[in-house]
């Protein structure tokens, strides 16, 4: 592995079973270290989204443990809301709050959860909007934005909480092709600035270029993982070879 940072998230033998028979996750263990950009790929139904969503407990594992910054967040005693503040999440369908202005989307959580004053939160919000070049949209509403702009705002909304890790659940899958680039650019910038990221994606170019580690999932298990060069150029697992031959 390319980085030797501290372990940020530790996943220990996680299973997720729906309705007592559908095994979405079938014994997944992994460690995500500070500064890593982990890219998860795999066919649909492989459990990659379930895995990502279990990292911040949007999906609660049936068995197994997940530790975030040393705390077992799967424990019933853990206040998961506190830990989620440190784990940003970006969704396929953006999920911006349509009843709030762009700026309010960004400042809501810092004000209500971190106790920031309105001025403070708005100052930071405008800084972040400048970062993505959308400061003139501050007082508009999400419905006035293009898909790519929406996703950039969704990323910025998460960043406003100063998270320690960002989780991306197929962030470009719902975008028109010409808008994929602007979102990937922003993600690249984040990675470059040292943000720890876990990304479920179909963008193989991004995985190769930005990923520090790639994970291939199939049938609810991690079938292969490694540095991008190895992973893409010399895959050992036949299912990964087959998958890559179809998507590359």
């Amino acid at each position: 592995m390319t980085t030797n940072g501290d372990v940020l998230i530790k996943v220990d033998d996680v299973h997720k079973v729906y309705n007592k028979k559908l095994h979405a996750l079938n014994g997944v263990s992994n460690e995500i270290r500070k500064g890593e950009v982990v890219v998860i790929i795999g066919p649909s139904g492989s459990g990659k989204s379930t895995f990502l969503r279990s990292l911040n407990l949007l999906e609660v594992p049936t068995t197994g443990h997940i530790y975030f910054e040393g705390t077992d967040i799967t424990s019933k005693k853990t206040d998961i809301d506190k830990h989620r503040q440190k784990m940003g999440m970006v969704f396929q369908h953006f999920n911006l709050f349509p009843h709030k202005t762009i700026l309010d989307n960004i400042t809501l959580a810092p004000m209500k959860l971190l106790g920031k004053s309105k001025e403070e939160a708005q100052k930071r919000g405008m800084e972040l909007l400048r970062l993505v070049g959308l400061e003139e949209k501050a007082n508009g509403y999400p419905s006035q934005l293009s898909g790519g702009q929406k996703q950039r705002i969704a990323i910025v909304r998460s960043l406003a909480m100063d998270p320690d890790v960002m989780l991306f659940d197929e962030p470009t899958s719902a975008l028109d092709p010409e808008m994929v680039g602007e979102v990937l650019e922003l993600m690249k910038k984040l990675a470059h600035d040292g943000m720890t990221m876990v990304v479920v994606t179909h963008e193989m170019g991004f995985a190769k270029e930005v990923g520090t580690r790639c994970i291939f999932m199939d049938e609810g298990q991690i079938k292969e993982e490694g540095a991008p060069e190895e992973f893409f150029d010399h895959p050992t697992e036949p299912r990964l070879q087959d998958f890559l031959s179809k998507v590359l």
């Binding site: 949007l58 989620r84 999920n95 709050f97 009843h99 959580a109 209500k112 419905s143 998460s158 909480m161």
Partner: protein, 229 residues
């Protein structure tokens, strides 16, 4: 025309008969206003319990109680409920009839409002809920800041409709001998033996109230809609 004038004077001016209409109108408005408040409060609480159960599986007992409440209230006519509350529940208590009517219509409306609110909450995309939770909001904060404002906007037309129904339903208050607007018109009819003028007057007053109310709701709707261009 002279005939019309005579009838008008007979029905509304003689013996100050317009008082029946005016006082009845005040009673109707009073009942409606407080019943709406009670209905919204009750409906909101029930909707929160029911949708929390739908979403998380918690509050099982609360959900059962709310379900029974909704089933009973929606399954029986409001006028029967009104009479049960007055003649059965408060039979041995000397109680202001206006309060009885507010209780009856408010509790009745609450059951309908509950289902309206619940449908509004369930109609907000699950992704909104997940976005809130993933930022670190707890269930209650997510409901307050993210879900209910959108739910309210979605159900405003249905809610407006429910209050129009409530306003007109109070016209059965006469069953417990209350002198509301409808009863006022009816009393005049029984005094003057002219059905046309007092009843049409009453109908027009209801119509005007509903039209004003509809206008207010659509103005509010337009204001809330400023976020979807």
């Amino acid at each position: 025309m002279a005939n019309f004038q005579d009838k008008f004077i007979l029905n509304f001016i003689t013996d100050n008969r317009w008082h029946y209409i005016w006082n009845g109108l005040l009673t109707t408005l009073q009942i409606t206003f407080f019943a709406v408040l009670l209905g919204i409060t009750l409906g909101f609480l029930i909707a929160i319990v029911r949708s929390t159960h739908d979403k998380t599986g918690r509050m099982k007992i609360g959900n059962v109680i709310c379900n029974i409440y909704i089933t009973v209230i929606r399954g029986t006519p409001v006028v029967v409920q009104l009479m049960i509350i007055y003649y059965v529940v408060f039979s041995s208590v000397d109680i202001n009839k206006v309060i009885v009517a507010i209780l009856a219509f408010g509790m009745n409306s609450g059951a309908y409002v509950a289902e309206i609110f619940r449908s509004g909450i369930m109609s907000v995309d699950q992704g909104q809920f997940e976005a809130g939770r993933s930022l670190g909001f707890n269930y209650r904060q997510t409901m307050i800041h993210i879900i209910t404002p959108q739910a309210f906007k979605n159900v405003l037309p249905a809610l407006g409709n429910e209050f129009i129904v409530l306003l007109k339903e109070t016209s059965v208050s006469g069953y417990i001998a209350m002198q509301d607007l409808t009863k006022g018109g009816d009393i005049i009819r029984s005094r003057t033996f002219d059905a046309f003028m007092p009843l049409i007057a009453v109908a027009i007053i209801y119509l005007v109230m509903v039209m004003i109310f509809s206008k207010l709701v659509s103005m509010l709707e337009r204001r809330l809609r400023n976020s979807d261009h």
